[in-house]
Amino acid sequence: MSAVELRGFGWRHAGRKAWAVRGVDLRVERGERVLLLGPSGAGKSTLLAALAGLLADDSGEREGVAEIDGLDTRKARERVGIVFQDPATQLVMSRVGDDVAFGLENRGVPREEIWPRVAEALEAVGLAHPLDRDTHALSGGEQQRLALAGALALRPDLLLLDEPTANLDPAGAALVRGSLRRALSRDTTVIMVEHRLDEVVPFVDRVVVLAPGGGVRADGSPDQVFGTLGKALADDGIWVPGQPLPPPRRAAAPPGEVLVTADRVALAPRLAPTDLSVRTGEALAVLGPNGAGKSTLALLLGGLLKPTAGRVVASSVLAGADAARPPHRWRAADLTARIGSVFQDPEHQFVASTVRGELEVGGRSPRVVDELLARLHLDHLARANPYTLSGGEARRLSVATALAAAPRLLLLDEPTFGQDRRTWIELVALLSDLRDEGHGVLAVTHDPAFVDALADRRLAL
């Protein structure tokens, strides 16, 4: 009997016209490791939620069959474990040991069995912290390992992984992948959704590609699927291993005047004193491990935080007569016309109820708004609510809002984080264009490919 069986399975969220996922036929045998792919919006996460038995009957409409070991997924919950993307919203308890124990308590495991199983699960994922360590004090990578331990302590037959490394820096992601490799026995079935394919492909023995309109588009070994469909999948935005990226574009001209200078600028305890300047017509990448203060540096340069030591000096090219004052004391309307900041989480920056409304904030003329919508391929979404956009669309909109007041300097925090291949390529092209038009571009990033493709200069913190 196969571990997982889907026959004509479909799900439509309540109140939605389109099916999130439909017409999926899939058999997965015990112990198989399956990578689930598909363009954003193909219903990958919905399918995992269905397999985990987490789609409540009253939250949408179901069709077809979804079974695990012959049981409906809603009745097979104790055989399934799932790890989600965001560590902050899947850790339940304040202490490491208590968090792993949480699931065991829920399943009615007797106390004398709980603690040995907690120790076993923590050992399996390689977390050596004392049981009473505060879960807030762990790094993102450690928190995801803990979430994995919480799922494994329940000894699931089927483990579902919904982009478990998407919110992590490369070091944290490597920690979690290491844990997966050492912790999983060969008879645990694994179905995972993941964007960083280079790293996970050695771990899986089967790739299933969902078609955006419903059904399964391809199913086979990684070599088969990527061999026949590699180019087509890459064009759909999937990060297929071995598919080349467009060649990097270096600056068309040498950099021009200085726009902003950081002079021993620091914010205790988040950023040690740092020197830096950004010029017109150059793209600068700021690199460094988590906690080095990269995002803080971008906020200080962007006039959004006040330094505790040193200063940020804007040039008269950037600020005219206002250059005598530090950016954090400028009026917001002046600030946004000089420095555009793009936050890591696009939703933080949304203030209007439509995409068009976002770009009209501050009284932009309809002509400027139309140009921006067209340039960032958002024209067909002008009336959509910003909160309903996909990850790639939300990123493009957040860049568009920063460009709306035509600032000379653009600061971006992890702009390529979690983006599909298509958005990534568009973003690199757009930023290269802006640089060549004479903007100064500074990006805080963990993404080595992005640095290669764009940066004229790098600063490592």
Partner: protein, 266 residues
Amino acid sequence: MTIAAVMQRSTAPLARRNPVAKLVAATVFAVGILFTLDPLTPALAIAAELVLLPLFGVRYRTLLRRGWPLLLSVFGVVLTTILFGADRGGETVFGLGPLDVTTGVLAVALGLALRLVALALPGIMVFTTTDPTDLADALVQNAKAPARFAIGTLAAFRLVPLLGQEWQALRMARRARGIDAGGNPVAAARLFASTLFALLVGAIRRGTRLATAMDARGFDSGVSRTHAREQRFTRADWVFVLGAVLLTGAILTVSIATDTFRPVLG
């Protein structure tokens, strides 16, 4: 007063008592004080609380550091009563501009201030010495509170520190978008409201995700839950609660015997 999500569990004799016992004792004590309006009863209660404080392992310095908002509000109450108190009987002690500050006004102000402190201290003593996880465990195991409520609240509580970070990010993001109040109070209120709304939307989304993750680990399985950590309600806890009842009784007795007792009702 801030409550850490994880605290070093205290070994002081009264801090070690079962969290439910501490809650019950504090409630008994507070209700006893609420019965009367005279200044003597709360003064005695405060004296008893300050004597007991070391047994909870709370240092007087810590109390001062955590309790300063309380002192601030006490000052506010005293000032308001002196300025606006209706009971202006008794002799005039001194004049304050057009106001006569009388012994009657001072007695009422003093009574209110002492009551406020006497009521707040037991709460501070319980919450600075009780780990939130232990409290939730004890509520479920000893007070038979539903786990869905107690553990669910505990889990939601873990998300609270995130709200502060989120608020700061939203404020900065609005400034980056060119939106500020510019000293206009109406614009400031609107900005505050729109930021708060965004904060709530984010909090609801995070709460939903957390609930899903909890259910994925069987929180809604309907199986009878076991307890990884045991909370015991021992004889010492009964003695502790009884002690609180006796102490409350003794204080009220003194206040009645000295004829200062002024019941709230009647």
